[in-house]
Symmetry: C2
Subunit: 339 residues, 2 copies
């Protein structure tokens, strides 16, 4: 039998390859694979469903990630997917594979974080599966949410001349990870001195929040985005998804990218290009959305929402416009997990 290395397809290539033969037959299924969450219709409300698998050594390193924070983050990244559909997360199931290295107290810590996230976002933990594992910790979470049909925002609705917006700031979670990695390698007896003043960067990496507040602001302002997703793999990768699925191009302006001052400072210290970090860093769990030009006036007063570019005709491609007006093709580095 032929053998194609998974690395030759990459994660998205593999998913595309595996899912293109799937047929949907249930009348209740409104949207299957291909967006932040699937959409089902069970009556008055649409049901959204999303899932994430986190593996030790791949997605987290317990040398510097406290289990409580890991639990919190594992739940929140799923909520973020539901918000990114303009929905409201309502239930999660949590499956754990646990090796002998972990004690009951360890798993309790993980659950403290899970419960805290659920309480804060008003989500119910409704089930799961718990089993032994040969090596390390495996966390699989599935989240359901609801939305009325007319509110759901997909990735494929961006139109030429739409505005492109992002929330919060970008690259900060990545710089938090760089800091943690640097101190792990330095292996200082007490890394707290190195972390002083950097709490915000660490929090962005270890304990991100889902942007429920933005979804609420958008609703109150009467803005319905034309396309939306959360930024888990980096802005470059995500805007390319939106452009590809919407059949459009984009222009992102380098000088409009929202960047945290501390993150920029640390990047300089570590000899990293902060723009590259902001474009490709990932794990910010901010929202990326496009909206109609006519909503411009409504957008301006929104807190923590930044206009970073606009949608173009597909033939222009997906461009980054540099500080001196130079045009660069956006590259989706994202997570190349299979490399």
């Amino acid at each position: 039998m032929a053998r194609t290395e998974i690395a030759s397809l990459g994660e998205f290539g593999l998913i595309k390859h595996l899912t293109e033969k799937i047929n949907l037959t249930q009348p209740s299924t409104k949207k299957g694979v291909g967006d932040d969450a699937a959409v089902m219709d069970f009556g008055n409300k649409k049901v959204l469903m999303t899932t994430d698998l986190l593996l030790e050594g791949i997605h987290f390193n317990l040398e510097y990630v406290p289990l409580k924070h890991l639990g919190y983050k594992a739940a929140v990244v799923n909520f973020s997917d539901i918000y990114a559909m303009n929905g409201t997360p309502t239930q999660i199931t949590v499956s754990l594979g646990i090796s002998k290295r972990f004690s009951v107290e360890d798993i309790e810590e993980l659950y403290v974080g899970l419960r805290l996230a659920c309480e804060r976002y008003h989500v119910d933990l409704v089930g799961g599966d718990t089993c032994a594992s040969m090596t390390g910790l495996t966390i699989s979470i599935t989240c359901l949410g609801t939305a009325t049909a007319k509110d759901i925002v997909y990735r494929n609705g961006a139109k030429v001349n739409d505005l492109i917006c992002v929330t919060g700031n970008l690259g900060t979670a990545y710089m938090g990870l760089q800091l943690l990695e640097r101190e792990r390698i330095a292996n200082a007896a007490d890394p707290s001195a190195a972390f002083e003043g950097m709490e915000y960067l660490l929090e962005r990496q270890l304990k991100p929040e889902a942007r429920r507040d933005i979804i609420e602001q958008l609703r109150e302002s009467g803005i319905k985005p034309t396309a939306m997703m959360d930024i888990s793999d980096g802005l470059s990768s995500e805007i390319k998804h939106i452009c590809h699925q919407s059949g459009v191009g984009c222009a992102i302006y380098e000088d409009k990218l929202p960047i945290d001052f501390k993150a920029a400072e640390l990047a300089e210290e570590m000899n990293l290009n902060i723009v590259t970090c902001a474009l490709n860093g990932g794990e910010d769990y901010e929202l990326l959305f496009t909206c109609d030009l006519k909503d411009y006036e409504k957008l301006i007063p929104l807190e923590d929402v930044y206009l970073v570019g606009h949608i173009t005709k597909p033939e222009y491609g997906t461009l980054l416009i540099g500080r001196n007006g130079e045009e660069l093709e956006l590259k989706a580095q994202g997570w190349e997990a299979f490399k």
Copy 2:
């Protein structure tokens, strides 16, 4: 910090311990942790949700489990949980953690099995997550289903004098596993001779089916079980769950246990007690249900349904009645995965 070994609680003890502090706040959540699936109310229909995590080296051994069968089984065991609530499975999400050992063709094989199961049971695969893994293959599946509120059967409804029924036969999947293990250890160049005539046992282990047919028969006969669950950990373990949650006892008759002839023959050859296998073998994915005594006449004509005992007052405990009338306490050996 204190350290309690997970093994000291066992799987169910750990789950109980972890979930007793969970509060449910969503009006749409009708049932959380503690049954085969959670129950949500999103309108006309109730939505059922269940999830399973399968880890290489714990739940499956790829030395003798073809990936196609593994995919099929991974989906079907989730469908079985939804049927065990008297519901209809409608959607699944599939998350995979994949190590470098696997090629695209390998994962395609897995998906062939997943798709076959979905097609056969009319279930939509609607999403998932795919990522690299450090070691081995991880499969996490979540399944949604629907049911009307009045049809849902929980584990806590068994009443004194109810009849206890099981479907199909018990211990066969376990004997299939014993056969595979024996041949793996024997390491013969061609094990097909050893497998001749044993195809049914192997199929029970490698490619089980969910008992949709039984659910349909029960509906057509106008029987609504008072309690029901699927047999994944063995009859002893499962009936104890029903008795515990319903606050009742039970008497199971050894001579009523449905046992496959070939399985019994192989058990004798391998010096195993087939009754112990039938009670504790697990992975049969048959249904265990209780129903009111008044449904006796309706039960008799049902195909592949066997009356194995009755529900008693709680003070009698959970008993196995031997062939000579001797009373033994049922022991739930099940999967002691953390030992």
